[in-house]
């Protein structure tokens, strides 16, 4: 960042300029600046949900697009995610208080035998940003963790992540168990991770393979809407 940009005083910007600056700060992974921007918007009377969607998710959408286009790489995305996390930490309790709309609930975790959670964490964060309630199971999850939590939380979506070719078949174990228990159709099952592809997602009986966090959000929204429509029609 240049000296000139260092001189920007966030509180002196009008709302539009501040949101634009927050896009830039998210892009640059500047956590403290994002936290400051969130607090300024709150002081100006913005609703937490508006700050989340217009400033934070708006900024992360740009980050996600540039990642997909090969302009940004994993380290930069992680820094941006970390900055967004800072903003989310301020907003989350306020969102709960203000009864912000919830689109649906997702249980998400990395499968058994796998400790990689960067992709899973990004998806969880973007899903929260999009208005989903996310229950994060963490890493190395056996089938019971998914199914018991999904049932207890009355989840709409079960999300599974794997980074290894050796662990991705475990997703099928989870889905097969759902089928055996007659609960497969109770949930939307989304899968993702570096070695996966659409063909694999179909082969194991998932509803969709999501190649990145932005796709996961759009896919989840689409499926939840369809589910609600089916309920309404039924």
């Amino acid at each position: 960042m240049s000296d000139e940009e260092d001189d920007i005083i966030l509180s002196e910007l009008d709302d539009d300029e501040l949101v634009q600056q927050m896009f830039d700060d998210l892009y640059d992974g500047l956590k403290e600046e994002i936290e400051e921007g969130v607090n300024i918007l709150l002081e100006r009377g913005w609703q937490p949900y508006d700050i989340l969607t217009k400033a934070l998710v708006g900024g992360m959408t740009i980050v996600g697009k540039d990642f997909r286009d090969g302009i940004l790489f994993v380290p930069e995305v992680l820094l941006a995610a970390n900055a967004m996390k800072g903003g989310m930490a301020i907003l989350k309790p306020l969102l709960a208080e203000t009864g912000a709309p919830t689109i649906g609930k997702m249980v998400i975790g990395t499968v058994k035998g796998d400790i990689h959670d960067i992709g899973k964490n990004l998806v969880g964060m973007m899903m929260e940003g999009a208005g989903f309630e996310v229950v994060d199971l963490g890493i190395n999850n056996p089938v019971e963790n998914y199914l018991e939590t999904a049932a207890a939380e009355k989840a709409d979506i079960v999300g599974m992540s794997a980074l290894l070719t050796t662990t991705m078949p475990y997703m099928k174990v989870v889905i097969d168990t759902m089928v055996e228990q007659g609960i497969r159709d109770d949930y939307i099952v989304l899968v993702g991770g570096a070695p996966l592809n659409e063909e694999f997602g179909k082969a194991i009986g998932a509803d969709a393979y999501c190649r990145d966090a932005a796709v996961a959000v759009e896919t989840a929204k689409d499926f939840v809407l369809r589910k609600h429509n089916r309920r309404a029609a039924g």
Binding site: F73, V74, D114, I115, H116, N140, T165, A194, P195
Partner: protein
């Protein structure tokens, strides 16, 4: 394509990382391998007198981009098919999600069994039996090229604060040593310290790589009446 047999001493790790190794154009059988395995394969070739076997390596940095490996191997097989009577692929699955195995089956070429080189250096069955999900592995090549394959691509040179986001769930770095080199052991130990992980040195030698290549060399020789 070069015409001289590559001298292992003359090829730098940086060449192998970025460019791989061109086939020498001699021999009836071609191994298409990951550049990270070039030294080990050339060593086995020399030790066993496999003069009928040629080696072409793809850039080792594909290790960091598994999604590109299958297409790169496909292209290399297509490029060399007419020049050799048999081709073998010295890659394991290497994070291709079964994609490389499917491509090799389709092309009618054999590849190395197992999920990745860490497994076949140790022996695929022994590796699986250990079930070490919190271990981060380095081979000789990766110890030497740690900055190019781990530290810089993960942005840790610019953003060291990201370290625990990547490695927070790992517990130890296992250096799977192909050679007994005290200097490499110390390097590997230092890498473990930089990642905040415990260190374990484990001598593997060439493991299943040696037995697989010997099997291929023998069978190919028998088929061709050599």
């Amino acid at each position: 394509m070069t015409t001289a047999t590559p001298d292992p001493q003359a090829v730098t790790d940086e060449d192998l990382t970025r460019d791989g190794l061109p086939a020498a154009g001699r021999g009836r059988i071609l191994l298409i391998a990951c550049g990270a395995l070039a030294r080990e394969i050339l060593d086995l070739k020399a030790a066993n007198g496999w003069h009928h076997i040629d080696l072409a390596c793809l850039p080792a940095i594909l290790h960091n981009h598994p999604d590109r490996i299958t297409d790169a191997v496909r292209a290399a097989v297509a490029e060399h098919r007419a020049d050799y009577s048999e081709i073998f692929v010295v890659y394991a699955d290497c994070g291709t999600g079964g994609g490389l195995e499917a491509a090799c089956r389709e092309m009618g070429v054999e590849m190395v069994a197992g999920p990745h080189c860490y497994a076949f250096f140790e022996g695929v069955q022994d590796f699986a039996a250990r079930d070490e999900i919190t271990a981060f592995y380095l081979t000789d090549f990766l110890v030497r090229q740690f900055d190019a394959f781990v530290w810089k691509p993960l942005g840790l040179d610019r953003h060291p604060q990201l370290r625990d986001m990547y490695f927070g769930h790992y517990e130890k770095l296992v250096y799977q040593a192909q050679t007994d080199d005290p200097a490499l052991v110390e390097k590997a130990r230092a890498h473990a310290a930089r990642l905040g992980l415990a260190f374990e040195w484990r001598f593997t030698g060439y493991g299943d790589l040696a037995t697989t290549l010997a099997d291929w060399a023998g069978r190919a020789n028998a088929r061709q009446g050599g």
